[in-house]
Symmetry: C2
Subunit: 237 residues, 2 copies
DNA sequence: ACCTGAACACCGTTCAAGT
DNA sequence: ACCTGAACACCGTTCAAGT
């Protein structure tokens, strides 16, 4: 009746790999705030302290979980790669970042964790390295590539943080804005018109379309600069 | 010898305003993670529970602190406003977002809090409304303005989250990258060249210059689209 | 109405002890 | 080497009690 306390076949040996996989699963299903040492241990059929034998604490778990996501990203980018000559570096970079996005959409917590613990991990560096390689092969100078990485910002990893604009279905945000329509007339007018035009989405914004719009704006700008046709920044220096 | 317990002249009456101001001070000086109910109360010479009579808990404090920062932003944007006709909407938007940036640089925690608790507050809506107004007056359609807001992303509020690239003086990131130089050859080569060229900053990147580069890239792209000269996004739809 | 002290339900983590 | 239980030092917050 009493369960065998250790070396049970129903509880395979604890492993760094198993710990991190389960951490990703929890974050996917319930968000990072639900990813606690005690819950993670519990789901693995173990005590919280046992985890410390396989990972360097909570921080190590977050870093390791992100690294698993970045492995997924690398795999997705490989399978959806575009032939280099087929539209040039621009199409190749575009395809890679859209592939990255499909992975990040499966792990919405990953961007937040990457932002909070911004260290240059191997997985992140490899992704950036691939993009740098594509741009360089396309004839961009390292200097322009460098500016380009900054201009891409978080779009580099397939997402763009949406601040200030309510998401599709954000009823609370919609109500709040409606309540202050007379205080923000331009914004209210814009949203009224856009919401009316764009019946394809439930709410106001099609995140995927907006991501691609912003991405193309940056890639087009870089392409133009690479060709030397015009200078960005006539305002200052 | 014993201090008067209440109505002491050295302890002015607790007020929502005083609570929020002190919250901003703590976050500025020690980061958001140092902003706890107990510490905040302590610095105000009061018990933690007293705060609940003036704010709606920790969340209300964070929201209120951000709102104070946005008030500062509005004031800074007003004083550095550019005449509308002087370079058109582009220069006016540019000036406002650079003004926003100077404020956000004084409160580096604010972007994180805004991202974490993304509700459309009055202060945020007013800032966005001003930008929409400038663009609209410049002749952009509401539809283009809407896309433009998404493309600007967090640059709207004067910052751009830097993921994956070590900051200036990030020795740990530098060491990490040096250790995997052979695994990320393009990235290593780029950084070696850029670091050599750019002797003006201590580290690799001049954040202000990169912010302006990205901002100008987006504004130029929008301006070009408004003039109808070329389409962004030849890749898809 | 405003403020307090004790307590509750959580965190991540250290430590000494088990096998 | 691996896992455990109790404990520590924190959190935000509820509650009943004070003035």
């Amino acid at each position: 009746m009493v369960e065998a306390p250790v070396a049970d076949a129903s509880r395979p040996r604890l492993t760094r790999e198993r710990v991190l996989r389960r951490a990703v699963d929890i974050a996917d299903a319930a968000g990072v705030e639900a990813l606690t040492m005690r819950r993670l241990a519990d789901e693995l059929g173990v005590e919280a302290m046992s985890l410390y034998h396989h990972v360097r604490g909570k921080g190590g778990i977050l870093d390791g979980a992100v690294e698993l996501v970045l492995d997924e990203l690398a795999a997705a980018a490989d399978t959806s790669a575009v032939p280099a000559q087929d539209g040039g570096w621009r199409a190749a970079v575009r395809a890679r970042l859209l592939a990255a996005r499909t992975v990040m959409l499966r792990h919405p917590w990953a961007p937040d964790v990457m932002a909070a613990r911004s260290v240059m991990t191997l997985g992140a560096a490899r992704h950036v390295d691939a993009v740098v390689g594509l741009m360089r092969d396309g004839g961009l100078s390292y200097d322009l590539v460098h500016h380009g990485l900054h201009a891409l910002g978080s779009r580099m990893f397939g997402f763009s943080p949406e601040i200030g604009e309510p998401d599709a279905g954000d009823q609370q945000g919609a109500d709040a804005l409606a309540g202050m329509a007379e205080l923000v007339p331009h914004l209210a007018a814009m949203l009224a018109e856009v919401a009316h035009d764009d019946a394809s989405t439930l709410g106001w914004c099609d995140d995927q379309a907006e991501f691609e719009f912003g991405l193309d704006l940056v890639l087009d700008g870089l392409d133009r600069l690479a060709r030397g046709s015009s200078a960005a920044g006539d305002g200052r220096g």
